[in-house]
Amino acid sequence: MSDFLTVSVLLATIASAIRLATPFLLAALGETIGQRSGVLNLGVEGVMLLGAYGAYYATLRTDSVMFGILISLVVGGVMGIAYGVVTLALRAEQGISGIGIFIFGLGLSDLLFQKQVGTPTPIDGLGDVAIPLLGDLPVVGEVLFHQNALVYVAFLLVPVLWFVINRTPFGLNVRAVGETPEAADSLGVSVNRTRYITIIVGNAMAGLAGGALALELGIFQQNLTNGHGFIAIALVYFGAWRPIGVMAGAMVFGLVSATVLQWKTLGIVVGTTASIVGMFPAVLTILVLVLVSRRTGQPSALTRPFQRGH
């Protein structure tokens, strides 16, 4: 009996870890593609909040989860255009601009929520989708293939992004622009056009990550993301700017978060202890970044605006 409980708890934890890793993964993959082209976006958190609110509000009004997802992508994309104008056209300092985007997203999402919704109203979030055949597999099927649609999307994006970066002419442009923009420019590759695309796509993914969080929880509140976006940035460093590494990092965080959550639900940790244990993911972020300080794989042109002839 107790064995059964342990195994089922373990399986539930893994399933929940995958679910919890999804927003991290979506946001971190988006940040990865931006950074590979040489643009640092510290505003992921703000974009996630706006995406989360957009998805929540759209779903609340239309009862269509699909529409909510679409809105989170659009909101993220629009934020990407804004960030692109600020950092590419106006060549503003990327670190500072990103903090601006964060504060903007934090404030605006709450303002809109207070004005448009006011009292927290739950929505019907994303339902689980069982994958035919694979979902019927014992144990594995239950854990891996009974998840919501965005979980599949996020994990499918890992090989897709790898392929785009490493096996397409566009990906070659991205890598060149992130390392030596002058070289790319001298061969007729438009540095800023490449970066606009990566930033808009990356921010759309951050928006989607926020949407995934809101639709998973079925609710919106002030600062719903609670640091997800910042951890996502850390995951890019942890994953050494490679999609597969980023996925590994997202899973580690998913597992830690799921375990903490599980302990709380089962009453293993309560009160102050629970709050302290709740800090684990944050502590882990710092530890990971200290340990992974080699920075091999960091794009050389990261945070450096490009201007021809300079």
Partner: protein, 511 residues
């Protein structure tokens, strides 16, 4: 080369004027490129050579003037426009992505054979074919960071050939090559012109210009000051056109008596930035009144040697004795106090603080000593007097002592450093690339100052990549290759050819 075809020029640039804030970089410059020729643009740094070619390559827009390609007026707005029109450029600083392979660097910016998929196979094959045809040995699968400088340049040329350019601009392509690599490069370039391509060779090295060019256009201060051919000209006449007055190409060597050893280096080993040995088993002696030149392609341990001698980099083992005292483990300050001066190769990074004023930079090495400061306070009257004297004596052209140093020209910043380093009457001088990137006038002056120090008994270690400079100034020449001294030649027996072999790592016994 009298066989210059008289077809329609590939490129005609008419009355090109390009202004930057406060400077006219090009003023009504006419320039053309014919098929099958090497047309040299000769001039000092800042004469406007690179600007003119950057206009042709679409990196800058001309304020006035017209560009015609094969007779047709064309507007070139960007490098992509230039590439589409068959114009390629090899920049002074290589435009390669170190983390990508040779094939990826070549394929960058080109449409892939399989549209959305990057298919490198045909690229690799074509690179191998072209390697054969042009004798340009490059491995398409190698990563750029794995390649030596000479190989990287072959990749740059490969990029241009692969794109089948009809006009290729080469901006100072020889500055990083050994003499034998330069020979190979010139063979390749000649081969390229035989196919009807037109090449622009940007340079300030007179013997190379005489060697390679079909026609020569000389720029000074943004204007054309001469058009000639090697047959009608000489190095002296070219230098005159570049500088606008008579120039002494070989420095005047005064009398000098060599005395006791002032620098003795014994079995020195120094580690480079990556922790691998950069200097190994180095043995060297410099006497008072003697100039010993260190020749070699950069990156063979010269910088690490200079830094170890000046105390900026620890010696892993071995011994450095200067002015009779073991300085191996002394700090830069202690070493300076022993009468050792150092002219670093990176004048903006190591030689001066750009944001400081001229006076502040001049007192960097003695600001904590009387009379410059007393009891912890700077003595501004004294600073003003001594700095004015130095600026005057070393002909540093500056509006005032308070001028921000980074606003001065390269030549004047270098003179400022030399003024500071020579003001204390040093017994030992380590001079690394003392004239790199400075105009001929300043270089001529710096050379004469160094020769004066030699006559006054200073022991000078001259590290330079400029062979003419090394041969012109040194009493003995040591060639460094991969951290070791390949051989030491006396001034009389040093020829470019012999030095070139040593620089390429071929010892005298082998050759």
């Amino acid at each position: 080369m009298e066989s210059v075809p008289t077809h329609q020029p590939l490129v005609e640039m008419d009355g090109i004027t390009k202004r930057f804030p406060g400077v006219i970089a090009n003023e009504a410059v006419d320039f053309d490129i014919r098929p099958g020729e090497v047309h040299t643009l000769l001039g000092e740094n800042g004469a406007g050579k690179s600007t003119l070619m950057n206009v042709l390559y679409g990196l800058y827009h001309a304020d006035e003037g017209e560009i015609r390609l094969r007779g047709k007026p064309t507007i070139i707005n960007s490098p992509s426009d230039a590439i589409e029109n068959g114009i390629g450029m090899i920049h002074q600083h290589f435009m390669l992505v170190p983390t990508l392979t040779v094939a990826e660097n070549v394929a960058l910016g080109l449409p892939s054979a399989r549209r959305l998929l990057q298919d490198l196979k045909p690229v690799q094959e074509r690179i191998r074919e072209l390697s054969e045809t042009y004798g340009l040995h490059v491995d398409p699968d190698a990563y750029i960071w794995q390649l030596a400088v000479g190989e990287r340049q072959r990749v740059e040329i490969m990029k241009a050939i692969y794109r089948d350019v009809s006009v290729l601009i080469l901006d100072e392509p020889t500055s990083v090559l050994t003499p034998s690599e330069v020979d190979d490069l010139f063979i390749t370039l000649r081969q390229m012109t035989e196919g009807g391509r037109g090449l622009v060779f940007i340079s300030h090295k007179l013997h190379e210009v005489m060697n390679l060019s079909d026609r020569i256009t000389v720029l000074r201060g943004g204007r054309v000051t001469g058009r000639t051919t090697p047959a009608e000209s000489s190095r002296e006449r070219l230098a005159h056109m570049m500088v606008g007055r008579e120039v002494r190409l070989a420095p005047r060597r005064g009398e000098s008596e060599t005395g006791q050893p002032r620098i003795s280096i014994n079995d020195l080993q120094v580690l480079g930035d990556r922790g691998t040995p950069a200097v190994e088993g180095l043995q060297l002696e410099v006497r008072s009144g003697e100039v010993v030149g260190i020749a070699g392609v950069s990156g063979n341990g010269q910088r690490e040697l200079a830094e170890a001698m000046s105390g900026l980099r620890p010696a892993a083992s071995g011994q450095i004795v200067m002015n009779g005292i073991d300085t191996t483990h002394k700090t830069p300050k202690e070493i300076r106090r022993l009468g050792v001066s150092y002219i670093p190769e990176e004048r903006m990074r190591d030689g001066t603080i750009g944001e400081f004023s001229v006076a502040e930079n001049l007192i960097l090495t003695n600001h904590d000593l009387p009379p410059t400061s007393r009891r912890g306070f700077l003595n501004f009257n004294e600073i003003e007097t001594s700095c004015s004297t130095l600026v005057e004596r070393f002909t540093v052209k500056t509006p005032s002592l308070e001028t921000t140093t980074s606003n001065l020209s390269g030549g004047n910043i270098q003179k400022l450093i030399i003024a500071r380093e020579l003001s204390g009457d040093p017994k030992v001088l380590i001079a690394a690339q003392p004239t790199r990137g400075v105009d001929i006038g300043a270089a001529e002056y710096i050379h004469s100052v160094l020769m004066d120090r030699r006559s006054e008994g200073t022991a000078i270690l001259l590290i330079s990549e400029d062979l003419d400079e090394v041969i012109g100034l040194s009493d003995r020449i040591a060639v460094m290759f991969e951290g070791r001294i390949m051989g030491i030649l006396d001034r009389e027996e040093a020829t470019v050819h012999r030095l070139g072999l040593l620089m390429a790592g071929v010892s005298e016994q082998e050759s």
